[in-house]
Structure formats: structure tokens, C-alpha cells
Symmetry: C5
Subunit: 354 residues, 5 copies
């Protein structure tokens, strides 16, 4: 279990709506990227302060502001003041232990969710909280750190001037959500490959290290489910959403995202079930190995113990032991050895123990 | 776990609605079959290109187009353009990792589901994705590969000119769905027979190979449930469907299909429960076998260990050991042997260990 | 698992509504019994063909037709034609792998359910499918075979001219359902008695045969639940049913049946839980027995092994072993034997192993 | 499992509404107590026959009739006739295998539930079925036997003339229900104490008797849940009940009862979960004990087996065995004994086995 | 299991609405603190009797009365009379075994919930029942004992005159609820840390003490869930609440609290699942250790038993045993020893047992 399961207790005792960043600080500085676009124009710039954003409010075109890095609460607060965003929303953006959710406000939609990314090497998941505040002409995206997550969207905006540029803020929101959610398919692929190797080992060599591995995967799957299952309510909420901010023609795209979320959740459930089954099989496999060990011990002991007893008899020092005098005594004892061990061996063989 | 549990991550990074085939390519070429029929006529032809289909749009009769093989995305795209099918629907047809679902569009219904077929030999399941686009006068069926799946329907259309020819596209859709869903009964039959042999073995010879077999069956059942349980929503959706495309008189047939789906799901649940129970029984059976082994070891050891100890005593070389001089010493020791072992044997017998 | 869990795959490939009998044939011939009654008259006759039934359509009195044996699909088809019963209903009557359900048609109600009967001897369940088609003045009952199932109802109709004769077809349907459902109480009684004996044995003598028995009972309970739980929807459907065929005054009787179904389902759930618990207890009990066995082995081995080692020492043939010369050597060794074994015995006793 | 889990199969074959007592007969005679009260008067009398009750119908005051003992079906039938109670209700009163439920009839409410009482000594539960028929001015209470269950209510009616006397039949019903349901808290207390002792023993001495005890408690908890969980629907039904028989001001009291029922159900679920956990812990504890036993056996055997082998070597009678002649042979062997056993002991100690 | 799981059976037999304190008495005296505040003023005083509160009813400002200590039922009764609080509400306040709930009354809202606090040292939870009666201008808070729970709220009221002072009683209620619920995050943090150490130990050293620890944590988590899960209904009820007492602008804050509750419940479920998994892993780990022990025993026994048998042979005293006379007999036997043990060692090594 890594520290990312940690809870937001850091903020306790502060009044609601007090703006400080809660969570691990991934980067100290904040980078603001602004994309302004329409069917016929497209402009990307990195802005130094919130003031540079304000002039775009006058424009009719759609403006997308990407804020990467949450350590500087002041920037978020300033944006909140200029765009009249509720204090609790700002607080939620800054608190990176948020539960995925959708909130409909009068002028904007607020969407917050976790972006899960497969970590290189072992099966493990990195997560980043992404928040979206979607106005009619403005979309804000808040991320914990600067990474390549939104690059595909940015590239599509830049290159092909097709669908995405001619559509509104709702379609941009959809594009970002779709990108984040589809990352989970990578994780499922990786999970599946890991499970295949685990299954192979469980029957051949059920070691404690394998047990630890199964447990670790199970924890990751449990965590993943915890981050994904509220997303179902989020996308279902977007589908039901009566807000004028979502165009009816965008609904079919949101339904597509919703289907993907359902598919991921079903896949997680499937894997959880398989993992539970693997734990049971591990135990059965261990017990089977024990059986094998015990059979060897039993056959060995049971065959030799009577023989050793016989040698013990003729190792006794009684004065009157007539067998010891017999010329054929020793060969006769060897015959007894062979007969006894042979009989016992056949007995155990019939029981299927050898 | 086979590769068919793999996820659709191949397409990630592309914009929504980009048409490429996602999934395993079962065949490279695409075969298009066209069936045009009415109460009084019936025509079957293989068409080379989409253009050959277009003239049938003028006709009043019902036209069924079967597209087998999805590698050539261009064909599906062309059909989409001519018949005004939404880009996301075309994308779903091409992506063979689809979740079974029903979508009501303005002019057509879109149905996608998995067709599961029992594989010869072991208990294992082959699947193929089948999509239906149902217009008033036109039905498109998209399949991953050319096989005999739809032959019964084609034959019925050709031979008996009864119900099916005089009814609309909704009834054709029902016939296709019914055929696909009823294939699952075969799988359930096969599953049941497999379980009966597993049950016999589990009590007689609980080997690790059996454990692997139970696990493999469980995985198949989990997979199967994953493909079938969304079909329940699909058929329930068809029953609730307000679209004018479904005639009220067809509803009773759809209810019948829905009942079959429920029956299959209940049967899958039943088998999952039985499989879980079998895993527990395997473990108990293994433990029982271990008990048996240990009883043998214990009885053998416990009977002979004291006897060997006695032989050890009289094998000692003390100068003053009066028993060794006695004439009846040796026979007396034999009496002790018999008495000790007899007593112990009776003791273990009374405990039920022999 | 008996063959009664088999699926209806026999019919696959035929068009919907094709009438052939699907399932085990319990009897080759079909027996038709007709009961015509009212507050003041009562007539019972065995009829040879469907034509003998038709005149009763003119009569105002209530006519109950009992068809026993489904091998002859022609009879059911003829009835269907004369009484305008939907082809799918007829098909459901003939297919004895039906899921219990209620269908409201324009002129009639269609009810199909399983009748479970305890089999003599072991705990096992026989089942028969019973279908009811309930018109205003006509009730059809279709059964797989001729047995005494409906005798109590027939006798009540014949003897006491009280409630049943003065009421309509809905009350007759209720009476038949009530009789079939209450048979389950017998099965629950028998199940409970079986469980009591199993519980006794599980603590005293947990043998593999007991394990097989628990598994067999579990399978029966799972099967039973599968047949009963859809009946809850059936009776709930009858309670909600808006059809004019059900008189409001009959509703209280149907609620009574519904309560019985709920009681049976709760009882099945209770027994499933008890059976799961018994499996766990079996495993714990087996493990406890193993502990007992191992303690005996350990105490025996651990007490005698050091003693045998000591005898081994003085059985060595070193020339210089002064103890062997001592006059009190042999008695001293005996003291060591007694002291060692006594100490070990007390040690194990303190551990609670003896 | 006691006979109280038995099912009501005794009545099968009788028509619905036939009045006979079903269940164990707790007492042969029937005692009828009548309480007539209002804000200003209060009268208690034991009545001999139903005729003595009838005059109270004329009175405006509230009359409470307590019928104890159900063996005499005639009395219940007579009451039913005079007060126009539906035959099925009378049947339900007489059948003591009833599922707790609420029925709203035109003139009265019918409530039936189980009263569970902790049995002295072991953890076990006695139950009694209590039925209430609540009219505007009349309340009938039917009990299986004469006991002290209703004494607190009777005493409250007699002594303090506060709330209860000035309120209607709905409040009386509430008082009786409240008394019966609160008895369950006693059972939960007792259950909890039993579990605490079981938990202590499970870690110190996991014996088969403890296993039996856990199983017995589990059965009781399962039974208890079966009787309580339908009561939730009963009290929820009373809260939703539109009948004029329930005054709006009584609703808050019924909500209080409903809260108690929820609290009991949650507590039962908690205890079921704890019991399941205890079973698992029992198994783990048993396995842990086995480990301990096996470690002792292994250490003992492994330390002495090589030593005994060495004594065996020098017990051999080869003519040419130079070591036997050595003066320091015997002491040297003792050094080997000490070194070998010491090394092995340290090895096992390092493994944590001693 | 501590006594805090005890049930409220103390009060049984008393009429509903009788006011006595039920539960553990945490402190004998009752402390009443009164806070009167508005945007521009703020007054805190400790009041001696209820009479000192009454004058504040005339004032327009918001008055918050904190009652700490419930032993003196008279105080609560007096408040109830003056403020017209329903007798059952007063009873619920005094009974500290209450289920968390929300009740909407005409003039006020009644909220009762458990405050869980992590206990120092081990993972264990202290709880205190907190009740809130929220009028338009008056808020009563009843607590079991005087502690620092509400200090953050009091301090915020005193210091910053921002949001909280300018808002109504609904916002005060929110602030108190938020404070109580957020304490659970601390418990989750502590729980998580405990689980991490447990996980480390379970793979390295699965001792019975660890088993006890896991069980103890599980009990705490089960208890915690029991206290938290009804809070979900409580906060959902506040969100749905139609009462004029809750201002629409407060709703967003309540939604925030509701989100926190959901987050805590999901976290509890996650931990329950992990704990169940840990129990299974403990068992598997124990079985793995047993395997290891048995392998050592088996290898030791199986290697030495045949050797000891050979020494036995040449320890026999037969007169005619030619090998004993051979000059190379003894060295030859040593070769046999080495060859046999070497072969067996290699055999076991190949099996992976050493």
C-alpha cells in the first residue's frame, strides 16, 4: 500500500472554503497554458499571470486554460474571483484527495476525476487529479503537474481543423474526459498480462513471493475500482444533465464515454473475481504440495521403520537366540526385508501415493 | 486466460470517430451478401461493392445486407455515408471489443452483441462480434468473419414463405438475435457435462490438474457472464423501446428472447456458484486425503517406535544385563512386542484411524 | 448433478413458434380430463379429442381442461387454434425447460411454473412443468405427466360446494398455484431433517462421503432456488395485474400465495447460508482431526526418539566405554529412560497435547 | 437446529381458509382477557366466551381483547364472524409459521410478527407468534400462550393515566409492537456477551466444541434475521399506511419503532459478519496450532535422527573398524553428538522454530 | 469487542417518552455553554440553569446552546418544555445508543450522530453521541461529555467574523457536522498505517498475535461502518430536505459534507475488503510455513532413515554374515552411506524441497 491511499486530514480544523493545497506537492511552480481557438483560428501561448487571461473574456472564440501545478493557491483563487467560481469548487480543485464527481453550477459545470496511468516496470498505478471548470466560452483544466497527458488533445486542436475546432466547450470537455478514461484500458491490458504470468506460477511454484504479488495486485485493483466507480455516476450525470452548457449533439459522445467507463468497471470486477479465485487456488495448491511432501515422508518412513525394527531384533544380545546360529539366518532376514518392503511398496502404490 | 480478454487500447490517441478496425483480424477480405425479400419475392446475391446496394433503396421490399469481415474500414465508411449512419456507430462496428448495447437513433436502431460458440474439444468459447443497423426497409449485419452463423435464417427466408417473409425489419432483427442467443444453450449444455466429470474426479482423485481445470472453467464462465449480462439490458431496452421501428406485434417475440437471456444468466450464476463450491470442496478433499496419509504414518510410526526402542535396550552392551542371560528372555521380548503392538493397534482402531 | 439441469438446446435451428415437444418425454400418450362446474352443477369426464371440449364454449359455466402428457404436440396445436392462443405460448407449453413466468394476453393469462416434489428416500427433487392458460370461462392446465398433483383440487370441487364452485377462473388458478407452491414446504421440511443429520455427523465423523452429501444437497438447493425465485416475480405480477380476468376479491388470496413464495425463498436462502457454513465447518473439523493425529505422532515420536538414541549409545562397540563395565550402568540407564520420558510427557501434557 | 425451524406442511391439502391450528401446541386451553379503557375509566376482566365481548361493541371506549392459546380454533372463528374478519386473516392467526407482515383491510389493520425472547442459560431464542387485529375501537391480540409479555403494557394502562389511556387503538398497537421489538435488544446483549467469550477461547484453545458453539450461534443469528428482517417492511408499511386508523400524531412513534428495527437488523448483520470472521479465524488458529506441533516434531526428529544414525554406525559389527579401538573414540563420538545437535538447534532457532 | 457495542436494553419496560439517561455515564454534571452571535456581535457565557437561556428567545440574533453531559435528564426536559421539543426527540437525545438520523419537525430539525475519535496508542475508536436541534434562531447541541470537539467552531466564531457569523442556524449545523465527519479521516489515516505494518508482518512472521490484531481491527472497522453508513442517509436527507430552515445557498456546503461521508464509506469498504484478503493471506502464509517445516522434516527423515537401516543390518549378530569379515566391509558401507544420502539429496533438491 503506497502513500497515495492517504486521506485528506491535513486540512482539518480550517473553515470550509479556506484555500490551501492539500495533497502531495508534485511540482512547486505553476504553468498556465492558454489555447484560444475557433473554426478558423488557433492560438497557443504560455501565460505568466492570470491577468493575461482576462482579455479573452471579450472574445467570442473558445478559450481553454490549462493550469499545471497546484502548489500556488493564489493563482486558483484569482481565477475564482475573476470568473465567479464558488469557494468550495476552488477548494475541491486544490484538495487532491477528491472523489470523482460532477457539479452543475449556474454558469459552469465542475468535473473532477482521477487520471490513472500505468507505471513502467511492475504493475502499479500513478494517479493525478484533473479538474475541469466548463463555461460557455471558457474551459479551465487544473492538473497536479505538467505532463504529456493532454498532448494528444492539443495536437488534434493544432493539426486537424475538423470536428473539434468547430464545436463548443462541451465537446472539449468530452475530448479531455475520453482521453483520461481510455488510459485505463492500458492499465487493464497490463493487469491482464501480469495475471497470466501469476496463473502460470501458481500451479507450478506457489511461493510466498507469489502470494505477496497477488496481494499487491489485489490492492491496486481495489484502489483502481475506488477511483473509477464514482466516474460512472459522473458520466451518467453528464448524460442526464439538463444544463444548457451541453449541446444535444454532444450527448452521443458522452454516451460513448459512459460505455467505456462501464466496460472498465466490468473488467475491474472480472479481475477482482479472478484474483479472489487465485487466492483460493494458491491455498489449494499449497495444500496439494503439502500432500505430496507428506506422501513421500510416509512412504519412506513406513517402508523402512519395520525393516529397522527387524534389524533391531537381531541386534539384541540375548544369549539364547537360535536364529542367530542358523546358517541361513542372515539370507532369510534379507528375504524378509525384500518381502516386507515390496509388499508395503505395492500397498502404497495401489493407494496412489508413489 | 486467452488473448480474447484483451482490451481495446490499440486505438488510443486517435480522435473519436476515426474509422479503423480495432481487434484481431479474422479475415482480410470483406464479403457482402444482399438479400432482398417480401411476401412474394426473394433474391440473394453477393455484391462486389457498396454501389450495388444503393438501387435497393428505391424498392419497397425489405433488404438485408450482410457484411462479413471488418478489415476494410472503407466499405463500412461508404455505407455510413450513403445511409447517414453516425460516425460513432461506424466506429463501434469496427471496434470488436464492444460492450453489447442498444442505441436508438432517429432513423435506425443500432444493436451490437457478442456471439459465443462452443469450441470443439475442451470447454472453451469462441466469440464473434455481430452488429445490426436496423432501418425501416434495410437491415445491415456486420460480422467479424464469414461463417455459418446466419445460415439457418437465410435458409428459412429461402424455403418457407410463412411468417418471416411477410414481416418487417424488426422481425428479421429478432430472428438474428434469437439465433445468436440460443447458441448459448449449447455452451451451457457443454459446461454442465464438463462439471459432471469434474465433480466425479474431485471426490475420487483431487489432483492439481483438476484444480487447473476448475480454474480454467471458472475463467470461461466469468468471461461468458461478462458478455451476456449486458445483453439483458439490450433486450430489456428493445422491450421498452418507443421507436416506431418496432411493431407492437413483434414485442411478444422480443419478450421471448428476453426470457431466454434471463434463463442463460440465471444458469451462469448457478454454475458460478457451483464452481465456487467445487473449489472449496477441492480444498476439503485435499485436506481429507492429507488426514488419511497422516493417519497411516502415525499408526506405522507409533506402533513400531516403541518396539524398536525395546530392541535397542537389549542391543546395549552393558556387562550386567541379567535379562540377556535368561533362557526365556528372547521369547519374553517377543511377547512384549506382540502385546505392545496389539494394544496400540486396538487403540488406533478405536480412534477410527485404521 | 442430474440430467434435469439440461438445457433446451434440442430445438435450436427451428423457427420461432414451431411446435414440437422439447424435454424428456415422461409419457407417450396424452390424457385430457374436463371438469365443468358452477355453484349448482359439477361434471367430470375424460375426453378423447379436442373436439369434445368445444361444445363447452357455449355454456356459461366454468370449464377446466387438464391435459396430461405433452408428447403429442398436435393436441396442443389444435387447442391453440380453437382458442386463439398465441403460437409462442403454445411453444412455451411444449418446451419443458421454461422459466416460471406470467404473461398477460388480451383474452387470457398464461402462467407457467415448476412443480417440485420431494423424491422418496434421499433428499432429491422431482420436477414437473405446469402451464395454465386462464380465460374468463375456461382454464387449461398442461402437465408433463399424469399424476396425483391436482387430486386435492379435484376432490374439493367434487365434495364441498362452498367457495371454490361459486367463484371464477381466477380462483381456480389460485387454487392450483397454491397447491403447487405449498408442496415446497414438504421439501423444506425434508431438507431440514437432512441437514440435522449432516450437522451431527460433521462434528463426530467428517468423512469424504459426508462432503459429497453436503455438495449434493447444495446442488439441489441451488437448483430449487433457480426454479422458485422467478415465481416471486410471477406472483408479484399477478398482484399488480390490471387484467379484468382477476377479480379484486381474489387478490387477497393471491397475496397469500405470494407470502408463501416469499417464505419459501427466505427459507432457501437460510439453508444456502447454513450449507456454506457447513462446508467451512467441515474443513475446520478435518483440520482439527489432523491436529489430533499429529499430536499423537509428535508425542510418540518425541518421547521415544531420545530413548532410542540412548540405547544406540550403549549399543556402540567402542572398546573403551567405561559405563558398560559399571555394575549399576544398566539400572542407571533405566532411570534415565524413565526420567526423560516422564519429563517429556509432562511437557506435552502442559501444552495440552495429550 | 431445533424443531422451531419446521415448516407449515401440516395443513397442506386443506382448502384455503379452513381454520385449524398449525404449529406446536403450547397450551391446550385458551384464556381471553378483556381491557376496556378511556381517559377516565379502566376495566380488566377475564372473559369465559366470545359472547362476553360483544356488548363492548356498543361502548365508545377502546376495548382490548387478549387471546392467549390458539388450540381452540372455534374461538378465533367466532370472533371472526362477529367482527367480520376475513377468513385468510383468521387462518394466518392460527398458523404459527407466519411471516411477519402488515395487511390493510377495509375496517381493520392486521399485523403479525414473531416475539423473540432470550432463553435462560445458553444463547438460544424462544419465539412466540403475536397477531394484532386493530379496529377503530377494538384491538385483538392473539398469542400462542399465556406469559408475561404484555404485562408492562397492562400495568401502564392500569397505573399511569397519562398518554396511553387518552389515545386510540393505533397507539395501543404501537405500544405492543414497541414492547415486542425492544425484547430483541436483550438478545443482542446476550449474543454479544457470548461472542466475547468465544473470541477469548478461539485464540487460546480452539477446540471442536468451540466450533460447534460458533455454528450453533450462527444458526440462531440466521434464524433471528429471518424473523426480524420482514419486520422492517412491516414498520415501513405502517409509516406509509394511508389508512384512517392511524392518527398522524402516532406516526412519530411508529418511526421510532422503525428506527429500533433498523438498529436491530444492522446489529444482526454486524454479528453475522463477526461470526463469519470467527469461523475463518478458527481455521487459521487451528492451522497455527498444527504448525506449532509440527515444529516440535521436526526439531525433535531432525536433531536426534542424525545422532541415532551415528550410534548405529558404531554399533555395527565389522571386524575392521579402527575407530572402535581408539582410546578417544567414545569421547570423540560424544563431541560429535554435542556438535551436531548444537548446530541443528541453532539452525532451527534461527528459523524461529523453537 | 469493547462494551461500546452494548445495546440499549436498560430502558426496556418504561413507556415511550420517559426521560432517563440510557448509556454509560461519562460525567455526572452538566455544563451549559451559550453563544449568541450575529454579523456584528459575539457573546460567550457559561450558564447555570436553563432559565438563563430563555431571554435570548426575544433577541433576533442566533443563539447556540451547547449542553455537555447527559446525566441530568431534568435539564433536557426543561429545555424540551420551553422550546416545545417532542418527547421522543428528548428521549433520543438522552439515549446514547442512537442510530444516526435526521428528523424534520415542524419548527426544528433534529440531527443525531456519532462522533468517532481515534484513541491514542493502538488502533481503537472512542465515540460520543452528538445531537443537534436546529431552530430558526436557536441551535441546541447535546454532547455526552465536555471535550474539545467543538473548540475549532467556537474559535472560528470568536476570531474571524467572515462567513460563519453572517449566516443562519443551518450553516452552524453544517459547520458542526463537517467538523465531526472530518474526524473520520484521521481514523482512516491511522487505520491505513496499522494495515501497512500488519501487511509487513503477515508475510514475514504470521503469528497468532497478528491474527488477533487483524481480528481486532476488523471488529473496529465493522463498528465504524455501522456508525457511519446511516450518516449517508442523514446527509442525503439534509440535501433533499424541503424545510424552510435550510437556505438554498447552504445546500452546496451540505453536498460537500455528503461527499465526505461517501468518501469515508468507500474507504471503509476498501479496508474491509483488504482485511478479508489479509485473513485469507494469513491462512495461506501459515500453510506455506507448514510446508517449509514439513519439507525439512521429510528431507531429514528420508535421508537418514535408509542409512540407519543399513547400520542396523550390520549391527545384527548373525553368526554367518560374511560382509563383516571383509577387510573393505566398513569402508564399503561408508561408500553406500555417501552414495545413498547423495542420491536422495539430489532427488529432493530437484523437487525443490531444499
Amino acid at each position: 500500500m503506497t502513500t497515495s491511499l492517504k486521506y485528506a486530514s491535513e486540512k482539518k480544523g480550517l473553515g470550509p472554503g479556506s484555500l490551501i493545497h492539500v495533497g502531495n506537492v508534485h511540482q512547486a511552480d505553476t504553468r498556465i497554458t492558454l489555447v484560444d481557438y475557433g473554426s478558423s483560428h488557433h492560438e497557443v501561448r504560455t501565460v505568466a499571470s492570470v491577468d493575461d487571461i482576462l482579455p479573452y473574456r471579450e472574445k467570442k472564440s473558445l478559450t481553454w486554460v490549462i493550469v499545471e501545478g497546484l502548489a500556488d493557491a493564489g493563482i486558483i483563487e484569482t481565477i475564482g474571483q475573476h470568473f465567479d467560481i464558488h469557494a468550495l469548487v476552488l477548494e475541491d480543485i486544490l484538495n487532491t484527495h477528491q472523489r470523482p464527481k460532477l457539479e452543475e453550477h449556474h454558469e459552469y459545470l465542475f468535473v473532477v476525476l482521477k487520471c490513472l496511468m500505468p507505471e513502467r516496470g511492475d504493475f502499479a498505478i500513478l494517479k493525478e487529479q484533473v479538474s475541469l471548470v466548463v463555461f460557455e466560452d471558457f474551459v479551465f483544466t487544473f492538473k497536479e503537474k505538467a505532463d504529456t497527458l493532454l498532448d494528444p488533445v492539443l495536437r488534434r486542436l493544432e493539426k486537424n481543423r475538423g470536428r473539434i475546432r468547430s464545436r463548443g466547450s462541451d465537446y472539449l470537455m468530452y475530448t479531455v474526459l475520453d482521453g483520461i478514461i481510455d488510459l485505463n484500458f492500458d492499465i487493464m491490458d497490463q493487469l491482464e498480462e501480469t495475471l497470466i504470468t501469476v496463473e502460470d506460477e501458481i500451479f507450478s511454484l506457489p511461493t510466498p513471493i507469489l502470494l505477496e504479488k497477488i496481494h499487491a495486485i489485489k490492492l491496486e485493483v481495489i484502489r483502481m475500482r475506488r477511483f473509477i466507480s464514482p466516474v460512472r455516476d459522473l458520466t451518467a450525470g453528464l448524460l442526464r444533465c439538463e444544463s444548457g452548457l451541453i449541446d444535444p449533439s454532444t450527448r452521443i459522445y458522452l454516451r460513448d464515454v459512459h460505455d467505456h467507463v462501464l466496460r472498465i468497471i466490468e473488467s475491474i470486477e472480472t479481475h477482482r473475481e479472478i484474483l479472489s479465485s487465485l487466492l483460493e487456488i494458491y491455498l489449494s495448491s499449497i495444500s496439494g504440495k503439502l500432500n505430496e511432501v507428506m506422501k513421500v515422508l510416509t512412504v519412506f518412513s513406513s517402508v523402512f521403520i519395520p525393516l529397522t525394527f527387524i534389524t533391531g531384533i537381531y541386534g539384541m544380545n540375548f544369549e539364547w537366540m537360535p536364529e542367530l546360529k542358523w546358517a541361513w539366518g542372515y539370507p532369510a532376514v534379507w528375504l524378509v526385508f525384500i518381502a516386507t518392503s515390496g509388499t508395503l511398496y505395492l500397498y502404497f502404490r495401489r493407494k496412489g501415493w508413489t
